[in-house]
Every structure is written in structure tokens, then in C-alpha cells.
């Protein structure tokens, strides 16, 4: 059962870049070893936290998009929990929401096409009528 999840986590602001990269690559191997795929890694950079977390006011946000089973997410969460510099994390399942959005988008596109087609046909018909009159 493959599902898509977003894992967002915050690491302490004084963490060096290379350590962060190392952490991400270990997570990546954990993902691939349990049969999932890492679809996207986005480092959102340093941000101010809305409230203090472990006495930190800032944090480096990282967003991972992962495809895999629930067990994989469970494993990733466990890893994040035991990793010292990670101060907060959250995983959200996004595939169902994405499916809903795609559906809405498809309906909207279909409507747009339906409304555009008669509008395009009408001027053509008018043009056909007026052309003989002027000629």
C-alpha cells in the first residue's frame, strides 16, 4: 500500500549544513531500504518559530515528500525522535487531499472547455452570416 506523506521537521538553528545533509541522506537510505521512495527534499531554510521549542527561537525547516507505507513513516518518525538536533517534526498524509484537488481541477478544466467551446462556435457562426451580407 503506497501512500504519500509529507514529513516536516525542524532542526536546531546552529546545526552545520553538512550535518543536515548527512541526516537527510541517512533518512533517504532508510526510506529506500524499506521499499519507499523519497520524492522530494526541500530545505526551507532558517525560520523564526512561532513559539519557543526547547529554548530555541529559530529553526531550520526541512520538508520531505515520501512515498511508502505507514510502517515506513513510523520508522522515520522514530529516527527523528532519537536524533538529537531535531527539535520538532510532523508527518501528514497528502495523497487523499491531492486526489481531491486533482478531481476538482479536472472538473474545472472540463467546465472551462465546455464554456469556451460554444463561445468559440458563436463568433464563427456570426462571421459566416455576416460575410455574405457584406459581400
Amino acid at each position: 500500500m503506497n501512500r504519500t506523506y509529507e514529513l516536516m521537521f525542524i532542526v536546531r538553528p546552529d546545526m552545520p549544513e553538512e550535518d543536515l545533509d548527512k541526516l537527510i541522506s541517512t533518512l533517504e537510505t532508510a526510506v529506500s531500504s524499506s521499499g519507499g521512495t523519497m520524492k522530494n527534499v526541500e530545505k526551507m531554510g532558517k525560520r523564526r518559530l512561532a513559539y519557543t521549542v526547547r529554548r530555541f527561537h529559530d529553526g531550520i525547516y526541512v520538508l520531505l515528500t515520501v512515498e511508502g507505507s505507514g510502517g515506513l513513516v513510523h520508522e522515520l518518525e522514530r529516527r527523528l525522535r532519537v536524533t538529537e538536533p531535531v527539535i520538532k517534526f510532523q508527518s501528514v498524509r497528502i495523497d487523499e487531499e491531492q486526489k481531491r484537488l486533482d478531481k476538482i481541477k479536472a472538473i474545472r478544466d472540463a467546465r472551462k472547455k465546455a464554456s469556451a467551446a460554444p463561445a468559440a462556435a458563436a463568433p464563427a457562426a456570426e462571421g459566416g452570416e455576416t460575410a455574405p451580407a457584406t459581400a
Partner: protein, 123 residues
Amino acid sequence: MADETKAPTATAEAPAASEGQGPGPGHSQRPPSRGPRPGGGPGGPREGGRKYFRRKKVCKFCVEKIENINYKDVRLLAQFVAESGKIVPRRLTGVCTPHQRRLSKAIKQARNIALLPFAGRAN
């Protein structure tokens, strides 16, 4: 001031109409007190201080066709969070029920990952 000047004229008419049917004086007292109350809100009086015109609220998400209410979109969510960090109720913002449901969920997710505050301003 417009409220006060208009309200007495309306109440002068209203009791006159109601006295014909014969309700007590306590009833005729009510219209003046009822007048200024809705006036506290936005908009001004329309016909004789009785009806108050208020701009119709519309759902931002329906109007702008925003379907993707995501916890990462802090700028969007922050519009529906009060200074104190509370989620602004639907009756004030005019958001429709399905969108408010998604909105509140997204705000709560954003709070958990420290993008929005639980209470107080982000500082």
C-alpha cells in the same frame, strides 16, 4: 450621530402604529433601545434606523477558488488567525462551512510545527 438623529423619528412612527393595536407602554419603549444596538457594528442605518445595511460576507476560498488549504501556507492562514492566536470564527470572516473545516485543520497542523502560535503573537 446619524444614528441618534434618525432613531427618534423612526420610534415616533413605530409606537404610533403599535398603539392602534394596543400593546402596553413597555412595548413602545422597546424600539428606541433596539435601534442603536446593531448600529454598533459596521454599516449605517438605512430606513429609519430599523434595518441596518451590512455588506454581505463572502467566503474568500469560494470567491478566489482556493481549494488547496495547506498548513505550509502561513500567509493565507494568518489572515484567519486573530492577534491572540485564535482561529477567527466563521460568523466574522464569512468563510463557508466546508472551507472553515479545512482551514481550522490546517491552522492546527501549522501550530504543531511552530509555523503559527498557539497563543499570543509570534515573537
